[in-house]
Every structure is written in C-alpha cells, then in structure tokens.
C-alpha cells in the first residue's frame, strides 16, 4: 500500500485540491466530449483548445486569471468555428486549421512576451501542460460553479443536440433553433475546455475531452451508458494520473517528477487503445439480453453510429 500511495498522498493539501478539480473537470469534459465525438467535431474541439491557449497566455500576460483567459479564448474560438460553418468538410477543416494556427502563433507571441516581461518562469509549461498541483484552492468554488453551469447546459439541450447530430433538417422541422443549440453547445465546450486547461494544460485538454468519450463509445451501445462510462474513465484516469505524478516525485532522481498531464494523457491513450482490443470488442458485441429498454437504446445506438 505504501508503495502505491507514497507518503503523504492523502494528507497533502494541493493533492486534495487537485483530486477535486481533476474529478470535476474530467466529468464535464467527458460529458461534453461524448457529444463532440457523436457530432464528429473532434478537429474543431481540438482547435478550440488551441484558441483557449491563446486566451490563457494573453490573460497571463495581462495579469488576469488564466482560467478566465482559457474560457474567454474558448468562447472566441467557438465563435470563429461558428463563422466558419459546416459547409464542405474540406474547406471547413482548412479554415479550422488556419484559425488554429493563428491562435497558436498569437499564443507564441504572448508566451514570449511573458518571459521577457517578468521573472515568471515556467509560464509555457504551466499554461500548455497544466498546473493542477499549483492551483489556488480559492478557485475551487469557481471551478465547481462553472462545471455545474456547463453540465446544466448539456442537460438542457441534450435531446435537440442529439437530434441535430443525426439530421439538421429533422431538427429544423421540429421547430428547434439549430443555431441556438449549436451556440449553446459551443459555450459548454468552451467552458469545459477552459476548466480542463487548468488541470492538464490547454494543449492537452483535447485528451480529456475526446479520449474517455471515444473509448466509452467503443464500449457501450447507448448514449446514457456512454456518458457514464466516459465519466468514470475520465475520473479514473485523472485520479490515477495524479497519484502517479505524486509518486513520481520519489521515483525520478531530479525530484521534479513527471508532469501530471503526461500521466493522465498516457492513461487515457492506453484506455482508448484497450477499448479496441479484440477480446474487449467481443465482450461488447455479445448478444443483448431481451429488455424493455431495447427501443430507446436502438435510437441512441443509431445516433452513435450515424455520427461517424
């Protein structure tokens, strides 16, 4: 036991904060992420995290809270994606790439100005790759509030969101404001990305957004199950990552330890790869037991499969 949980793990205050923030952001990312994957918006979701990077680095330069910077950047990025639209995939991906590139270029500038302006070192590392152990505990309520906000949005629009992923016409025919749903979802994405940028850094928050979601969708057949499994995977990988990072202080001679984000991302990647293993696939595809929930599952499964 002592080998797994190095001394002081449970009593260490930053660790406790990290566990809370990590769990909450993982859940939000997982939930939002499932819809991102269903809507095949993985590239756009990733681009959003890079624009969030710009926001975070700009905020840092101007002395503002990086969290708000990340979220602000995310919202601007979401607006840009919305402007780009969903016309032809080729042109959309190209435009997304250009926006992404410009955002990162600006981030480069801000980070450079950071390093020349002040004595703050490690800005690049913290913003891009996470600083979950150094988060100010007083931000925890803000994090919890924002998480609840993002989750509330998703809960509110979950049905039209799913429907619009299947068919834009169907959604419009039902009188649902397609654009409104899209905008709301983008806001939820921006908040989610902003939160996970604190935990694992903006560059890597894609992993929390897409990884658990993509893995869980390979393992489950209904939307509800996907959401739950994604949440569980997200929290599990985050907590394990925090644990390993803490332990790595003791493993690695430089006593700096390896970054938390490295462990979290690696675990997510491994989880995703494992979800594709043959024996796992066979277990997933086993014949279903007859149950009354079959009908609703059917619709959700079609939603999941149609979202490729």
């Amino acid at each position: 036991m002592h080998v797994v949980f190095e001394s002081g793990f449970f009593t260490n205050a930053p660790v406790r904060t990290a566990l809370i923030i990590g769990a909450v952001t993982a859940i939000v990312s997982a939930v939002v992420g499932v819809f991102v994957v269903v809507r095949s918006q993985s590239f756009a979701g990733h681009a959003l995290t890079d624009v969030a990077t710009t926001g975070g680095s700009a905020a840092f330069f101007f002395g503002l809270s990086p969290l708000l910077g990340f979220i602000g950047g995310g919202v601007i990025g979401a607006g840009a994606m919305d402007l780009i639209g969903v016309e032809r995939e080729r042109r959309r991906d190209l435009a997304t790439g250009i926006v992404l590139g410009t955002a990162l270029g600006l981030a480069a500038l801000f980070l450079y100005l950071d390093t020349t302006k002040g004595a703050t070192t490690g800005a690049t590392q913290q913003l891009l790759f996470g600083s979950i152990f150094t988060v100010d505990p007083s931000t925890v309520p803000l994090v919890l509030g924002l998480s609840a906000f993002a989750l509330a949005i998703v809960v509110l629009i979950n049905r039209p969101l799913l429907l619009s992923s299947l068919s834009a016409e169907l959604t419009r025919a039902r009188g649902i404001n397609l654009r409104g749903v899209g905008v709301l979802f983008m806001i939820a994405m921006a908040v989610s990305v902003g939160l996970s940028s604190i935990a694992v850094g903006s560059i890597l928050s894609t992993a929390l957004l897409i990884g658990p979601a993509a893995a869980s969708m390979r393992l489950t057949k209904s939307l509800r199950a996907s959401l739950m499994v994604a949440g569980v995977l997200g929290v599990a990988t985050t907590w394990l990552g925090i644990l390993f990072a803490y332990d790595s202080f003791y493993w690695v001679p430089s006593s700096q330890g390896l970054p938390v984000s490295f462990f979290i991302v690696s675990l997510i990647f491994i989880a995703y790869l494992m979800s594709g293993l043959p024996f796992v696939r066979r277990w997933v595809d086993r014949p279903p037991r007859a149950n009354s929930a079959g009908a609703s599952n059917q619709a959700s499964t079609e939603a999941l499969e149609g979202g490729a």
Binding site: L94, G101, T102, L104, A108, L109, F129, L204, F262
Partner: protein
C-alpha cells in the same frame, strides 16, 4: 541581417519554404489539414527525447515523425479517424513534455521546439536538412501524377491499379520527412500553417495544378522571408510571424476568389441581359 549566422537562417528558411509549398499543395488538395497538424507534434516528442538522450535532435525528429505518420495511417483505418488522430497528437505532446521535464533546460527548450527558432538549425545541420528537403521534393515529383489522381478521384485510381491507401501512407511519410526538416526553424506547433495558408491561397488564383504548386512555393517563400526578417528585427518568435503571414495569405486568396466570382456572376448577368435585349 544578411551576414554571419543569419546566412544560415536564410538558406534553411528558403529550403523550408520550398518544401512547405510543394508538400502543402497536396496537403490542401487532399484535405489533410489534421494529419499535417498532428505529425509535427510527434516530431516534438522525438526532438525532446533526442535532447534527453543527448543525440542529434534531427534523428529524434525523424524517427518520431515517421512513427507518427505510420501510426496515424494505421489507426485511422479502424475507428473514427478524427478522434484517433487527436489522441495520438496529444499523446505525442504529453510525451514530449515528459521528456523535457526530465532534462534541465525545460522552459527555453519547450518554447523553441514548439514555436520555432531562427537559429534552429546549426551550420553543421544544413547539409542533412537540405538533403531531407531534396528527398521530399523528389518524392513528390515522382508521385506527382498518381498522387493527383488518387487525391481527386480515388475510385477511378483504384480501378487503374493505384491503391489509394498506399498513396495515403506514402504521402503521410512525405509529410513526416518535411516535418523533420522544417520543425527546427518554424516550430512543431506552427509548421503546418506554412503547409496550409500559402497553398490554399495559391489554389484561389489559378485553375491549373502545376501553377498552383508553383504559387504555393512562391507564397511560402515570401512568407518565410518576411517572417525571418521580422523575427530578426523584433526578436519575436519566427513561428508567430509564419502563422500570421500564412493566415493573411489565405485571407487574401479567399478574398480574391470571392471578388473574382462576383465579377464573373456580374459578367454573366450582363451578357444575359444584353442577349435578352437584342432578341
């Protein structure tokens, strides 16, 4: 700005632009924006690893770019290719961050690997870089026509015995090769903009493939030269200027295309109107 160590930068920068333009032509044609973004992130991890092992960073860049290209090629056959590419991309970045954290020069190394460094290529490395660039260009020249057909009409190509999957892998490897030589100067996170903006802009100005490729190279050259000059004067990162100028060229290209279309529509309307009047 044109003497001493900067000569190095100009030489390498020119090569980077030519390769970026040539390879970028096909990146835009095939809609491979995402892999073009993802493979360099693999390069980042490789360079970081090489730094840790105190070997030539070009080797690390090369090996990991190659691996990332093959990995994306293999993984994208099964499962949703977008999600997989995103995860592989991020995994590489995390790996790179981990490697760097184990070395002593964490901060400045991260920055220059991610965002570029005018002097990213030392004098002793010019030859391998130029050689790699030549390999890229020769590869594209050899594959030019089959690659054109498989990119535009894969079904027809398949019927002719040109297997699209093979060419996809081959092209990803070319991207990996181009990445290896371009990342040190422009940065892993930003090199793909050089492959996107200028090529996308060039394709707005002409209908012909050959001219579009020449245009890609020309615009990429202007982009790099301007970026190097500005970075030298202001000390701001090269990658920043590359991304901004690439985006600008894309904007100019799109603007021209829109103006051109409007002009054509107006001309058609005029001719229809005058035809109706004379009848």
């Amino acid at each position: 700005m044109f003497s001493g160590f900067m000569v190095n930068a100009w030489e390498v920068g020119t090569m980077v632009a030519i390769v970026g333009g040539v390879v970028g032509f096909f990146v835009v044609l095939r809609g491979s924006a995402f892999p073009a973004h993802a493979i360099p992130n693999g390069a980042f991890a490789g360079a970081a690893g090489a730094n840790l092992l105190a070997i030539n960073p070009l080797i690390g860049l090369g090996v990991f770019s190659f691996g990332a290209a093959l990995g994306i090629g293999a993984l994208s056959r099964r499962g949703r290719s977008d999600a997989v590419t995103a995860l592989a991309l991020v995994m590489m970045l995390a790996l790179g961050a981990a490697f760097l954290s184990l070395s002593t020069q964490y901060e400045p190394q991260i920055f220059s690997l991610l965002f570029g460094e005018i002097l990213g290529v030392s004098a002793s490395e010019i030859l391998p870089v130029v050689a790699l660039g030549a390999v890229c260009i020769i590869a594209v020249a050899l594959l030019y026509r089959p690659l054109l057909l498989t990119s535009i009409a894969p079904d027809i190509a398949a019927a002719r015995g040109l297997r699209p999957q093979r060419f996809e892998i081959a092209f990803l490897i070319v991207i990996a090769c181009a990445t290896t030589m371009t990342v040190p100067v422009v940065g892993a996170l930003l090199i793909f903009t050089l492959m996107l903006g200028p090529s996308a802009a060039a394709q707005c100005f002409t209908n012909r493939a050959g001219r579009a490729m020449a245009g890609s190279v020309a615009i990429a050259l202007v982009t790099i030269w301007l970026a190097l000059a500005c970075a030298y004067e202001s000390n701001w990162p090269v990658g920043f200027y590359v991304s901004v100028f690439s985006a600008s060229s894309y904007g100019i290209g799109r603007g021209y295309a829109a103006w051109h279309t409007r002009r054509q529509v107006r001309a058609t309307r005029e001719s229809l109107r005058s035809a109706a009047l004379t009848n």
